[in-house]
């Protein structure tokens, strides 16, 4: 293998050899992303911090086995999501186990709320109360749907990368993303339809 092979701007050779300076650069570059991912998945800053620390401890130990076939970021995301899932299983074993396969099996439900709220003014769409509602709606998704939604629509990963991180098929990523988005659309529509009605009465 090429000794000077660089990966995402990092020297894999140095990382594999346990180079502290190179590892600190990796931590500096990716810790904000991993922390935000943890907050979005776990919805609790303390859990996100635990996952952040465990992710980089695991990464440091496993760098020598990293084969370089995926991007370093994808590999780190994979460690982080596994850590997050482990933590969730410990805390809420009853919810995490069953929902995965269920989310792939059920079809898309027929839309209920058919209200065009796109015309609401920007300050209404992103008001403090609206932001709180957006957060709650995402938290209401099952873990497996939320993971896919966060990776694809918040972190901007491709379908292939998301499949790689979660170790599921690309078809499963698409199915779950579709379900997550449609469920969020329902929740947002219910909320914004009320805002629209209020506005029409004013």
């Amino acid at each position: 293998m090429d000794k000077d092979w660089h990966h995402d701007g990092f020297s894999l050779e140095a990382l594999r050899n346990g180079d502290r300076e190179q590892f600190s650069r990796l931590v500096e570059a990716y810790s904000p992303l991993i922390y935000r991912l943890g907050v979005k998945i776990l919805t609790n800053p303390q859990d996100a911090e635990d996952v952040l620390q465990e992710t980089f401890i695991k990464a440091y130990r496993s760098l020598k086995d990293f084969d370089g076939r995926s991007k370093l970021s994808t590999w780190l995301y994979r460690i982080a999501t596994n850590e997050a899932l482990m933590l969730l299983r410990k805390k809420r074993p009853e919810t995490v186990a069953i929902e995965d396969t269920q989310d792939d099996r059920d079809g898309n439900r027929k839309p209920i709320h058919i209200v065009d709220w796109c015309c609401l003014p920007e300050e209404e769409l992103v008001s403090g109360e609206s932001l709180e509602m957006l957060k709650k709606a995402a938290e209401n998704l099952t873990t497996s749907l939320r993971l896919v939604f966060v990776l694809r629509d918040i972190e901007g990963m491709s379908t292939r990368e998301t499949a790689e991180v979660l170790d599921i098929s690309e078809a499963a990523v698409k199915t779950r993303l579709s379900r997550a988005r449609l469920q969020l659309r329902e929740d947002l529509s219910a909320y914004y339809a009320d805002r629209l009605e209020e506005q029409n009465y004013e």
Binding site: R20, E21, F23, S24, V27, E28, S31, P32, L33, Y35, R36, P45, E49, L52, Q53, F56, I57, Y60, G107, N108, K110, P111, I114, V115, D116, W117, C118, L125, V126, L131, L134, A138, D153, I154, K174, L177, S178, R181, L182, L184, R185, L188, S189
Partner: protein, 83 residues
Amino acid sequence: MNEHDDCQALLDSLSDFVDGDLHEKLCAEIERHLGTCENCRIVVDTLRKTINLYQITSTPPTIPKDVRKRLYRRLYLEDYLGD
């Protein structure tokens, strides 16, 4: 295909449609359907807006100072903490 079948077919392809991941032919079919079905047009528009709202309100990735400090300490990287 009656109108109801069109709506159901659209629902299953909706997510791919807003991502622009559909074949040209299917995409054109959906565009045509949207021209005549007001309900589906609303669902598509509000779905796009839903995704957009999450994207524009997502905070840039940052890490609180104390969280960063504790991470570097846990990894024995204090020498690289900087200011």
